[in-house]
Amino acid sequence: MTNSWTDIKNTDLVVIMGGNAAEAHPCGFKWVTEAKATRGAKLVVVDPRFTRSAAVADYYAPIRQGSDIAFLLGVINYCMLNDKVQWEYVKAFTNAAYLVKDGFTYQEGLFTGYDEQKRDYNRSTWDYQIGADGYAMVDDTLQNPRCVWNLLKEHVALYTPDMVSRITGTPKDKFLKVCEMIAETSSPTKTMTSMYALGWTQHSKGSQNIRCMAMLQLILGNIGVRGGGMNALRGHSNIQGLTDIGLMSNLIPGYMSLPTEREPDFATYMSTRGFKPLRPNQMSYWQNYKKFFVSFQKAMWGAAATPENNFAYDYLPKLDVPAYDILRAFELMNQGKMNAYVCQGFNPLQAFPNKAKLASALSKLKLLVIMDPLETETARFWENHGIYNDVDPTKIQTEVIQLPTTCFAEDEGGLVNSGRWMQWHWPAGSPPGEAKTDVWIMSQIHLRLKDLYRKEGGANPDPILNLTWNYKDTHEPTAAELAKEMNGYVLTDVADPNDPTKKLLEAGKQVATFGVLRDDGSTACGNWIYSGSYTEAGNMMARRDNSDPDDTGAFLKWSFAWPANRRIIYNRASADINGKPWDETRKLLWWDGAKWTGYDVPDIAPTAKPQDVGPFIMNPEGVSRLFARGMMRDGPFPVHYEPFESPVANVIAPKIRGNPVARVFKDDFTQFAEVASKEFPYAATSYRLTEHFHYWTKNNQVNAVLQPEFFVEISEQLAKEKGISNAGWAKVSSKRGSVLAKVYVTKRIRPLTVDGKTVHIVGIPIHWGFVGAARKGFTANVLTPFVGDANIETPEFKAFCVNIEPTTGPVA
């Protein structure tokens, strides 16, 4: 989230698209109710189903899953044509006026530089024209045909209300009504918040779904303001924290990136991470990258990271592919190229697409290690459970070790919520049996590996032998010790350059902020964005003062929000070019003539003059991007692409299948239904229910009673057409497998008319499996396709094709 849950109360319009907060985030959704009750805010829901969120909406519009970009580009087109633009904001705080290189074009679904063989672009033309002064060229009058604003205008012109309706199935009048409601928030004194979740991420163009709404929010001037923002409703309690700390193939904590093998040395690595400002006076905060990186290396390897060895640069693995994400991991496993796999609190046999492929892959491992508080299907993938897991254990040679871990109620530490609040919690109960904390288990593995390398030697032992591990109890570091490492600390005294008798930094002390981190090895910091969370003043994450001066919803003394305890990022954009708040009744930050002040921690240097320094300090431009340059693999502007399995061809680019740069492994392509397949004619989508949390709560008696068994949802029309009765059984099949399910016939799903054709929707909740307290049932991932988003590889769970036929129930 750019903002926070409690800030939603400040909005005028909530748009829920790509999510269902009332169902999946009920206690956060209460802030929508608060905004409606106290401000008269309106709620708009756009979704293929009439969801629980839709049930309390002021306006609901149906949409075919996988067509959100067409809808949103249509809204942008509407705003541009009808002058519903927050002009001052767009001109001052976006790259609308920037001139784009002449070589850049768009034609029939593709941008310049496409290579069909590689399924990739040469993105060299996707950039600004650079002037003789070294800065990006701009035309503040927006007259130049090559400026971003004019290119965008041309790009979205295709998405007329008629075209949008033709692609999305949203009736034209409903689309226009949503446009009108959204466009009202282009006023500087009106704002809109976007609440989205996996309904936008789980597509082969998920990143562009989100980017498209972010562009709309910028055009309306709704980013950086109270009640505005792009608000990702994250799924798990610490999915934000795990991402911040970079537990991904290609990440270093704090959104830095692991080197690739094209960066053989530190100098080459840094050469593309200079972040020289693209406009005069801009902060371009990533210019501090080296300080954060060196401090990270010092946190990892302490004295072994020296200026002479480039701070142990070679200790880091270097990638040969963009990332070894989970889809690639299972692909490699299935090819027999992996030997061991550790699942820590994760149940991939349920959580990833194409269960048959996942099971086949796990069967090829030598060792599978499970760390979990609960039984999981993954731990028992080799066990026969009849039709629900039809395997022969004698044919599976994988050894499996299952380790019992503590759960949330038995451990201590911080969790990061959607609004980036880092909240500390304390243990309340003793673990069951011999269950141990994950920290204890990871420590045992590390200490044993270290011991083996000491005794036996082996391949490149230094990064393991020299890993900083100076905890009081090496077998189980405390949460406080680990949190302090992430916050960062001083290794050697740094003298004050103005007064050498004074120390700027004192060895052994916690740093107060990432602003003091250095690139000379005198500071260590595990995760720079967490600096300030555990300082000499103590554990800031444990703060519990719930005061909120003037009821702004900021709660600055409750826990700690990264970065720097800032509650709304880009908050300098809540004031105009002179630093005057756009809306006095909803002011957040303002320029008092000498410095920035207000209700939040300024997201700008405190004395940066408002006319000089732009609000988007992480960008070298200092402004936000309507044109993404080469940052996105699939284009600087979003384009409507159909899902890989679609009931219709792409109307705007009929030759293009799916997202043209999404990675598809060879064998998976053969497992996709063809476009407009007669065999698999229905548009399916998967989702959650409020009574369940993924595959955990089927282990909970109460939740298992509330929603005891697997079912699918279809419309009355489809039920009639197929002769399926309510509570009857059906077989649902995709190109990858089939499931048996009870059928719930509902008015909440209705057929849509797409490009003149009737499209039926099949809804598939995800929560069941073959272990737990609920009835055994199939999982949605038997059906889903093995393909991910082109930028970040999140699987396309939300749009695929199936068939459904009536049948009898399973034999008990």
């Binding site: 994250r234 999915i239 991402t243 093998e261 820590q344 070790i401 299952q402 919690h425 044993r448 009574e691």
Partner: protein
Amino acid sequence: MNMELSRRQFLRTAGAGIAGTSLGALGFGGVEEAVASAIRPFKLVNTTEVRNTCTYCSVACGILIFSKGDLKKGEKATITHIEGDVDHPTNRGTLCPKGAALLDIVHSKQRLNYPMMRKAGSDTFERVSWDAALDKIARVLKDDRDKNLVTKNNDGVTVNRWTTTGFLAASATTNETAWCTYKVVRSAGMVVFDNQARV
């Protein structure tokens, strides 16, 4: 929403007996005794209260966990009750159908108690000791790493990349667990490394 008297304090006061009520003041001492002996003490009075966060979604509702026994005193603690934290700015004491049933996930019959091992081709898990499980894991990882760590690529560039063993991290563990995990995994050169944020 600062409260003069926290609900916890209120419960303590309420549970302390009825000596301070009007009944006591009016001199019905005997009645009070009889009533007091008939009333079961309020269950939460004898528990330890700990602040925690709901383990499910990222709304991160504040919760209060009540236990018999106090971990801070080195006692064994059994969790007996979980409810919403009224002082929490986001949820203000409310919980959803999942949060309201948290107690049953803590005490789920599917909680794991002991390290288990399934041998190749077997149709069952067998109990093993922690030492046996961890020794085996360390041995397999070390052998695989020694055999398959790519120290240099074909161009002679130092890459120190290990792709034959992978690690899938969680989504509900703490930041501190995540950092500890990151250190152990990354220092080994493992790149097949991901977490639940992918979905």
